[in-house]
Amino acid sequence: MLSVAQSTESGLKESFGTNAVQDFLIGIKPEFVPAWAIPLTAIGVGMGIVLAIVALLTMFSTWLERKVSGHIQCRYGPMRVGWHGWLQPLADGVKLLLKEDLVPLGADRVLFVMAPALVLASLLGAMAAFPLTGAFYFANFELGIFMILAMTSTTTIGVVMAGWSSNSKWSLYGAMREAAQVVAYEIPLGISLLVPIMVAGSFNLIEVSNGQGGGFGIFNWYIWPWVNPFMLPAFLLFFVAILAETKRAPFDLPEAESELVAGFMTEYSGIRWSFFFMEEYAAMFLYCAVGSFFFFGGFESPLSSLAEGMAGTGSVLHQLAQGATIILKGFAGIFLMMWLRWTLPRVRIDQVMTMGYKYLTPLALVCVLGAGVWEALIAPLWR
């Protein structure tokens, strides 16, 4: 479907992964359609696929959240809508679409409407850099992780817009806390990712994943101490940072239910609220998947190395195995985040900031320093 193959028609094709779609469209292009319409259509199709993937991820994540929270709390969760409630997200989506479109009196209407769209758009931009398999992606950026981190940071603008434009002091509190928290935890997030980037030598997600190949798909993962002993601390810092970035407990003060009703999302209802929700779950998946790419092998797993051995690199079976692997790893991370949410209480905002600036950032720097020393001096001895 989408492949890495280059086509000679247009210079744009080398940078976009939608080449096959473009080839197909060029083949069927009627006379009156100009040449520049082809890449645009291809991009549109790609974005549609990304949006569909995000929507599916969100649907499944909401079901998973309700079941996980239910079982942790000694109850079942949704059971009626489909087998064990798996159609519940569908029912919720229908309900949200049918809700009244409410904009509070006195709210800044333009910003109020724009905020959830901006938040989701930033996330879709980040998902554009996320490869689902070795050959199925919207775009293969050389600076893949850079693009993802940058785009997910822009969701903060949307959150602050939401909090401010709601014309409610409680929403403003949530927005301010969110801005402070996200900015504080961007630093350890980026710095802790430098450790695997140093080992891999590349920002490109697919190259990082390929670098962890071999060893039955499991023994070359970067997390193991024999690759670099600073990887495990870096991963722990990364995990805490992504909990804060996605506003999940114990860092869910911006949307603290029992204090601020729903924080910056208080005044939102219906489909607008579901945009925020989609952003939260898609961001959770994205960050967990990024973590899997850099620390836990990405596409590499016993399943995918078996498929590669059986059918060859780049084959359909291999790609299916890769896709299954990354999705499973992403959801394992999501499960861990949900587990933490329903176990731990909330950390207060000043404690969050103290932890971010005073403890995590210096620790991250120490990890990078140590990892650099290891890579430069000790690792070449046996690699």
């Binding site: 002091k169 204090e259 909330r346």
Partner: protein, 402 residues
């Protein structure tokens, strides 16, 4: 609190100092305005309909003013218009989480005026129900406190135990929340067969679960960080405000009405050394902080289980209500009886002129007195701590407002 403060930027009045270079330096005097946030009648963390007007400078609270009266149902005025026994369902409804204790307080105040003796089995059943209800009330207090802090799961675990307790009460009196079970003279219904062994089974299971709650919530590092050193109540402050119950014991003030002014069977139980009074000792952080008060409530649940077990051991068949006429005419006089509610001292002051209807039926609700301390504790804390402090006072707005 007036909300009509106008914001006057002081740019025009900035001082211009003459520097060495001959230029004038203008300092921009930036003034920010404190924000007044309304933790309104509808809020997940105010434990009922109560409004707290908080003035805050960013996240720092600089002033707090509780506004009550949203749940005022004129209970005291109604007490002057209905007959003695008809007032009993109204007593259920002020502290609806500990309804048995409310019934007990009112019945004891009227019985003090009547001067009758309650049969022993009635006293046993009263004590069992009051202590079970104390456990139920503390379960909600700690569960919702965890919920305010952000730990959602212990709340659901505690409600599982509370469901069992409410099922027990449903078997004995038919109601799950507002019982009207403890009546003037005794109790109105005997325990159905098998009820007492079910209570024993509840005690056995609860002891195991209690340990779970203690480890899951009280020892959780994040919970400790959120609640230690917050809302410290000193001894002088506690006595000045008239605080009672876990608010006192959380500041290591040794006072429990069950032991110090004993009523019903508590002097016997105390003599048998069946229970202790847990006193906080400032284990995590300062003495008298919110963690200490939560700790006192958790420990008190275990002590209530011990009292229930003592009663189960000693209960014998017998009459369950004293001989009282159908239309009660209470002899003239006045009496004040204070009992140990889960929240503090619940006092009933009844005045009678010899008739069918009370002259005065004053209810001293512990939550009313406990809430006053908020005006003193909240300034100087962060907004998230303010929520924790409200939760630690364990108020029920039905009792604050009556």
């Amino acid at each position: 609190m007036s909300t009509t403060d106008t914001y006057e930027p002081s740019i025009a009045q900035s001082k211009g100092e003459l520097l060495d270079s001959g230029e004038r330096e203008y300092m921009l005097d930036v003034r920010t305005q404190d924000m007044e946030v309304n933790m309104g009648p509808q809020h997940p963390a105010t434990h009922g309909v109560m409004r707290v007007l908080i003035r805050c400078d960013g996240e720092l609270v600089t002033g707090a003013q509780p506004h009550l009266g949203y749940l005022h149902r004129c209970a005291e005025k109604i007490g002057e218009n209905v007959e003695w026994l008809q007032y009993l369902p109204y007593t259920d409804r002020y502290d609806y989480l500990a309804a048995m204790n409310n019934n007990l307080g009112y019945s004891m105040a009227v019985e003090a005026l009547m001067g009758i003796e309650i049969p022993r089995r009635a006293m046993m059943l009263r004590t069992i129900c009051a202590e079970l209800n104390r456990i139920g009330s503390h379960l909600i207090a700690i569960g919702t406190y965890g919920l305010d802090i952000g730990a959602i799961t212990p709340f659901l675990y505690m409600f599982r135990e509370r469901e069992w307790m409410m099922a027990l009460f449903e078997k004995i009196c038919g109601a799950r929340l507002t019982y009207s079970y403890i009546r003037i003279g005794g109790v109105f219904n005997d325990a159905p067969p098998g009820w007492l062994s079910e209570v024993e089974a509840f005690c056995d299971t609860f002891e195991v679960k209690w340990k779970e709650y203690y480890d899951l919530l009280m020892q959780n590092h994040i919970f400790v960080q959120r609640t230690a050193n917050i809302g410290v109540i000193s001894r002088e402050m506690a006595l000045d405000f008239g605080l009672t119950g876990p608010m006192l014991r959380g500041s290591n003030i040794d006072w429990d009405l069950r032991r110090d002014t004993p009523y019903e069977l508590y002097d016997e139980i105390w003599k048998d050394k069946a229970f202790e009074i847990p006193l906080a000792s400032g284990e995590k952080g300062t003495l008298g902080d919110t963690w200490d008060r939560a700790w006192v409530r958790v420990m008190e649940m275990m002590e209530s289980i011990k009292i229930v077990r003592w009663c189960l051991d000693k209960v014998e068949p017998g009459p369950i209500i004293a001989e009282i006429p159908k239309t009660l005419r209470i002899p003239p006089g006045e009496a004040y009886v204070g009992i140990e509610n889960p929240r503090g001292e619940l006092g009933h002051y009844v005045v009678s002129d010899g008739g069918k209807i009370a002259v005065r039926c004053r209810v001293r609700g512990p939550s009313f007195a406990n809430l006053a301390v908020l005006e003193e504790l909240m300034p100087g804390t962060l907004l998230a701590d303010a929520i924790a402090i409200i939760g630690s006072t364990d108020i029920v707005v039905g009792e604050t407002d009556r």
